[in-house]
């Protein structure tokens, strides 16, 4: 019953909240900066390290990482909305 009824019902209901928390956790900065390990770093911490570095060549890498992250989020959103539209389509 748990696998076939409870979990699917809960997941269906909680999907937007899970997505929100996923986005929030993926981009979190302050807590990983204070409590996280130095290697491997969270993406936002790594991007900021690249930006704050004294080497000039790492600054474009930070901008590239930010662009990559934005593209990934946009792609994720597009896939999710396409999936939702497909589900809502009458058979």
């Amino acid at each position: 019953m748990l696998r076939r009824v409870v979990l699917p019902t809960l997941l269906k209901r909680a999907a937007p909240v899970i997505l929100l928390y996923f986005v929030f956790a993926l981009g979190s900065y302050e807590i990983p900066l204070l409590l996280g390990r130095s290697h491997p770093q969270m993406l936002s911490v790594y991007a900021m390290d690249l930006l704050d570095s004294y080497q000039l060549e790492t600054i474009p890498q930070a901008y590239g990482l930010a662009a990559l992250y934005t593209s990934f989020m946009a792609l994720l959103l597009l896939l999710l909305s396409a999936g939702r539209r497909l589900k809502q389509k009458p058979v």
């Binding site: 986005v23 981009g27 302050e30 204070l34 936002s44 991007a47 930006l51 930010a66 934005t70 989020m73």
Partner: protein, 259 residues
């Protein structure tokens, strides 16, 4: 038995919330606890350094206060007015969708995307630039916050006032303003908090030239100065707690959109 369990859970929750404050107080007021002393000795050295020493945090505190109050007021007012203007527009759906965009990205990544333009325009490293950058996050929040406010009931109230002969200004000040006050206070408080605790966006756009209290706390932490960090941290949470106490009637009631 069930009631006792609920009380215990409540106390445990309260303890979990209070524990970090206790640690901050301990670190800020009793930084020395050498063995074999039973109790730590009080010391106000961190507070003296914070206010009078070379690590004067007053400019950072004032910067934070000015930024948070301005951002809170501008975002709340802008969100309230624009959500009203766009409420019946054909662009309302698109505006709502675009308003979610800043929340898809972390403020740090968003700041990295904005930084080039801010530097190009000469706004980077200035208080005005940081204020504008923070509005990029707080204004969409306020806009989305007020989406639920413009119900048919509010429209009916406005229509009734207009039918009874009220002018636009009277409708705004006599009908809308009193009705929206709890929602406005809540939105102001939330946008104030976003701005007050903002770290990533402020540090990237401010280029280290706009010191705020949140940045100062992180600076003390990176300098491995826990006593000063704890004292600045306590200072950081004081104004939001004061605002919460001041507006507890409005903020601690669940029904934001009810009069």
């Amino acid at each position: 038995m069930k009631r006792l369990g609920a009380y215990l859970a409540l106390w445990l929750q309260g303890l979990l919330y209070a524990l970090p404050f206790g640690i901050l107080l301990l670190l800020a007021g009793m930084p020395y606890w050498p063995f074999p002393q039973l109790w730590p000795g009080w010391s106000f050295q961190a507070w003296h350094l914070l206010w009078g020493g070379s690590d004067n945090v007053l400019p950072a505190f004032l910067h934070s206060l000015v930024l948070a109050l301005s951002v809170g007021a501008l975002a709340t007012l802008g969100g309230f007015l624009s959500s009203r203007a766009l409420q019946q527009s054909m662009l309302a759906g698109w505006a709502r969708r675009w308003a979610y965009f800043p929340f898809l990205l972390t403020p740090v990544i968003y700041a990295l995307l904005l930084q080039y333009f801010f530097t190009w325009l000469g706004w980077g490293g200035s208080l005005g630039g940081v204020l504008l950058a923070q509005l990029f996050i707080t204004y969409p929040f306020a806009f989305l916050f007020f989406q639920g406010f413009w119900t048919p009931r509010v429209q009916a109230l406005i229509n009734t006032a207009v039918t009874l002969g009220a002018q636009q200004r009277q409708v705004f000040w006599r009908v809308l303003w009193p009705y929206a006050r709890p929602a406005l206070v809540t939105c102001f408080f939330q946008t104030f908090l976003i701005s007050w605790f903002e770290y990533g966006l402020t540090s990237v756009i401010g280029l280290g030239k706009v010191p705020t209290l949140a940045l100062t706390v992180f600076q003390y932490l990176s300098e491995a100065n826990p006593a000063l960090a704890a004292a600045a941290g306590l200072l950081l949470i004081a104004p939001p707690l004061f605002l919460l106490w001041l507006n507890k009637r409005v903020l601690l009631t669940a029904a934001v959109y009810e009069v």
